[in-house]
Every structure is written in C-alpha cells, then in structure tokens.
Amino acid sequence: MASTTMPMEHAHSEEAHLREQHLMLDPRPRGEMNAMIMEAMHYTTWKFWVVAAILGAIVLVGLFGSWGYMIAEGLGVAGVNRPVFWGIFLVNTVFWIGISHAGTFISAILRVFKSEFRRPFTRAAELMTTFGLVQAGFSIFMHMGRVWLSYWLFPYPNQRQLWPNFHSPLSWDLLAITTYLLASTMYLFLPLIPDLAMARDRTAGGWRKNFYKVLALGFRGTEGEWTHLRNAMNIFAFAIIPVMFSVHTIVSWDFAVATRPGWNSTIFGPYFVIGALHSGMGAVIMVLAVVRATMKNMKYFIRPEHFDAIGKLMLIISMGWAYFFFNDYMVQWYGGDKWTEALLHWHEAGPMGWMWFLMLIVNVAIPWLVLWNKRWRSNPWIVFVVGLLINVGMYLERYIIIPISLTINRMPFTWRMYEPGIEIPLSIGTLAFFILLYMIASKLIPLVPVWEVQEGQMAHSMKKFGRETVVTVSELE
C-alpha cells in the first residue's frame, strides 16, 4: 500500500519548508540583504518620532531633572532610611547589569560553541549590554550621597595621597564594571566595522556618509584586515566570558560579604550570575520581538526558529535559577539562625510577601508551563510576555534581596519599612533612556551583522539522509 518512492513534490515541499524555517537555508544575494538592512535603518515612520519624543521628555524630566533635584536637595527626597540604606537605586543597578549579561552570553558563548542560530541577532543583544551598563552606571552614581566626588573611587595619583580601598567590594565593582563596559563596547564595535563599511559604500552623502566613513576607519576587507579582526573577535569571545561572570559575581559579593542575615551566603555568586542571565534572556527576546514587529525587513532575518532557540535557553536558565534559589533558601532555612529565620518569615509572610510568591510564579512556574511547548515558544508574542514576566520577577527578586531584606537586621529597634520616593521617576527615566538609546542606535548602525549572516548561509546546506532532508553545516573558520 505504501509507496516506496517519495514523490518529487513532497521532497520539494520539504525543502521549501526547511528554507522557510531556517534563515541559514534561505540565502539571498548579499546586495539584496544589504539593501534590506539599509532600508530598515532609513525607514522611519512618524510613530518612531512620537515615541522617541515622549521617551526623550521622560529622560529629560524623569532622569536628568529628578536627578538634578536630588543632587541639590540630598537623598532625603528618595525613600532610603535607616535601616534600608540601599534602595531602588541599587535594585536598578543590579537589574541593569543583569540585562547587560544576555548580550555577552548570546554573542560570546554562542560564538565559542558555534551555535549558528545566533548570527542574525548577536548585535541586537550586544547593544543591550552596552546600553544596559550605561543605565547601571547612572543608577550607581544616583545612589551616592556626594556624587560630585565620585571620581575619588578611581585609582589615580592625587594630592590626598590616597588610593581607593581595595578591601571594599565597591572598589572591585568599579573596576569590574569599567572593564566590562569597555570590553563589551569594543566587542560590539569589532564585528560592526565591516557593516559600517557596507553602510559607508551605500550612503551617497550627507552627515550619514561622514558618520560611517569615520566609524568604518577605512576598512576595505583585505585579507589582513579580516585576519586581524577574526583573531581579535576570537580572543574577545573567550576572554569576555570570565569577565562577564566576574562582574555579576562581584555585584553579588557587595551583599554576600556583608555581616547581614540573609546576605551572607556563599552561593550568591552563581545565583546572581544565573539570575542575570534569566532577566537578560527575557530582555533579549522582548527586544527581538519588538524589532521584528516594528522594523522593516526584519521578519526575514528574525524568525520563529530564533524565538524557539532562545526559548529553550530561557527554560534551561529558569531551571538553573530555581536550583540556585532553592539551594540558597534551603541552607538559610536549615541554619536556624534566629535573624535569618525572622528574615525568611518577613519575605514570605511580611506585608510584601506577595512579591516573594509572585517572583516564584513568574520566574519559575510560568516559564516552565509555557516554554516546554515548541509551538508556544516559537510565537514572538507569547515569549515576549514570558520575557516581560521574567523581568518583573527578577526585578522583584532584587527588590526582595535589597530593600526588603534590609528591613530586618540584628537590632530589632531599628526595623522599618521602605517607601520609594523620587526613585520611581528615576527608574522610569533609566528605562526610557535605555529604550531611547536603543531606538537611536537602530537607526544609525546596521542591527543585523550582514556579513555574519552571509557567512552562515554559505556554510549551511541541505543533505539527504535516506528519505529525509536534513540541515548540514560546514565549518568555514
């Protein structure tokens, strides 16, 4: 009854299906892809300008206006008090550093492991790293009582004959975040050079021509230039991974080295790293969904397969986060220290207990319930919502670790709740600034590394194994 030969039509439709699914099997001439990316950069609707204007106003008033007011008035206009000396500013810092981790993770770790699905969106993710770190930097400086003296934290010879105190985790933080910001910016820039050269060749004149001309540095694509670039990118991909781990580990040490119940935990390092990846991956998927929906020609480059692949990573990371969370919780609970016990009780049954339960639901339950399904996680809007919820959950996690945990200490007489004040406009301001920077960048630099996509398309082909058509990749590098 069953025919032993496969009808030709079926084989064709199978190939067409694979082609439709995988960007790497659906090559277009390089010139056409270039034109698509250039069009995506240039095509700007009035909606873009309206959103940008609103965000710009929020940044001016919410971020710079409120900050200026706070610098002039003192931190009294914020909600911090005794014992909650650290409030939302540090929540924001940890949050934005967390967001910045996904860019490096996707771009460096997936490059090291030669995961081909990364190709079209490495740059979109790396941009998040740089702009996220900018917001983290803003948040740290907002937090300082005398921000006009913040340069005292940097190591330089000075009249006071003092160098920074390297006993302090904040000094390590400063070095680590500076290293990471510089490294991620350079790592963003290196693979961008050929694309800037492409944009330069395809821009006739005006300020854009000069912009690309200067930034492309005179890149021509000679063998030597490519060799140096490839070598450098290889070194970066390997070296930036430990830097990324060190940054969030050091951020966790700000808490873990302190003599406070709940904070003094040896597992905080990896727990924070996985938490950073959790929120970062959620943010990457949100950005990709928005970029795909709003920018021209992006539906060709960013496809359901990419949401599927990131969705799988999100599921694994969510499991990892749950593992570390439980590990931390278990040990704290078992220890029986009365202050830690009071703190855990406060987390769960205190007036902000809903945050603790909501955190577990959106960080663990929802990703596990949704992301196991390939069809669901291939849908950009479903994973957008999951990513958004994970980011809410991770924000709550940091909120619980910082202001809520600070309420409880070993001096019950000082226990007091924290109510955010000017932190709220400032937080909204950093978020708006992040989105605004991203929007501006999406119109200035090619958001898809075209040469990397073309390289990947050259390496991919279809091969028949018996009756089945499968994807094969050849290693070109």
């Binding site: 008035e73 003192g74 931190l75 005794r82 009582g145």
Partner: protein, 247 residues
Amino acid sequence: MKPIDLNEMGAIGAIAQEAEGKWGMVIDQDLCTGCQACVAACSMENNIAFVGEEDASYGRSLQWIRIERFWEGEYPEVKMTPFQPMLCQHCHNAPCEPVCPVFAAVHSPAEDLNLQVYNRCVGTRYCANNCPYQVRVFNWRDYERPEPLNNQFNPDVTVRRRGIMEKCTFCLQRIHRAEDLAKAEGREVRDGEFTTACAQACPADAIIFGRLDDPESRVNQLSKPDRGYQMLEELGTVPRITYFKEG
C-alpha cells in the same frame, strides 16, 4: 612561622584582644532610666542636626546614641525590659571599615577607635549596611538649625553637610584635649580626668567611660568578662562597650 596558639584564637582570643583596647565604656542597663539626657547631651556636644518630626519618624534621625526600649507580653500584660542605650561600639574588628571604597571609615591604631572621616566620605552607605549595631547615620539633607540653636555650635566639632555618614566618635575632641593637656604637663591621661558627653550627662551614672589599658581604671574594674556581656559578641567584632543587665 608563628606557631598557632588556640588561646589567641576564637572566643578566648577575642577576650584577650579586648583587654588591649585603649578607650572603653561600661553601660549598666539596670541603672538606666531612659531619660534621654545622654541623647540630648550628645547632640549638643557633637553639632548633630535636628531632622524634624517627619524625617525622624521615617528612621532618619541623626542621633549618635539612642535608647532602645522593648516590652514583653501582650497589652495590657506588658513588662518593660531594661533600656538599652545603643551607640557605636568602636569594634576592634569593625565590619564598617573595610567596605568603604574611599577609606572614609578607618581605624585609629593609636586610640583603637573607629573613625569616620567626613570630608572623605562619598556616601555609598555601605558602612551603615554592614554595621550589625545599626549605629551609623546618614545626612539625608542639609538640615536647617532654627534660632537660637544656631548659636550653640561646638567649635571643636565639624558641621556635616548632606550626603555623608557620621557616627559616635567617643567624643574624640575631648580625648584629644585631655591628651594635649596631659602631654603639656608631661604625664599620662588620668582615669576620670574627662568623660564623654553622654556619660557626663547621665544622672544615674549608668554610662562610664575610661581607659581600658589602665588596670586600675573604673571601666576596667567593672568590665570583667564575668560581670557583663557585649552586644552581638558572637560576630567577633570585639566591641569596646560592655553592658550589664540584671547584674
């Protein structure tokens, strides 16, 4: 290499270290009446700003010493526990010091005191977080001083501005004045020659300040390990204040 001596480590070692301190305090909680005279005297002596009702009720008062009061049981069957005056414990191993990135919280090896260098502070507030006694306070704003309080500044003490941490100094300005005088007269500072503002103001004589390195001093006589206890001793911070309760 130095051989390991278990008497120098752990709790026994901590007690041994405690005896090495220079300045110390004894607070008898059974004598304390909770009258807050020490709080007022400290504020006058050290130019502490008044933050107003609203900020004070939100946990932003700047007092360097506070009287903690607790009660046991449910209303109306409540029983007061002894008052607990709380101020900087001048730990020998102070957790607030190493976490400051700019060396604003430092240790004085000469006086074995915990110092806060106001003009070096950038306001990260890490020291306050890391203080298990929660005795560090932060200048949340530049506070106004209403008439006639602006006429009673202590010229020996800096006035702090917004954005910096401050805390009890064991009246360092009085220590220095006594030391200068003693040096001019070519002698050591005598026990009881001077005292801190809080101890001076205490009507019940519940706070006693003096030299720990003088075996004959009142503080040393009183603060024998078997008669008192130290706050959160288990953290190993080696505080310089000994408390008595139901002694």
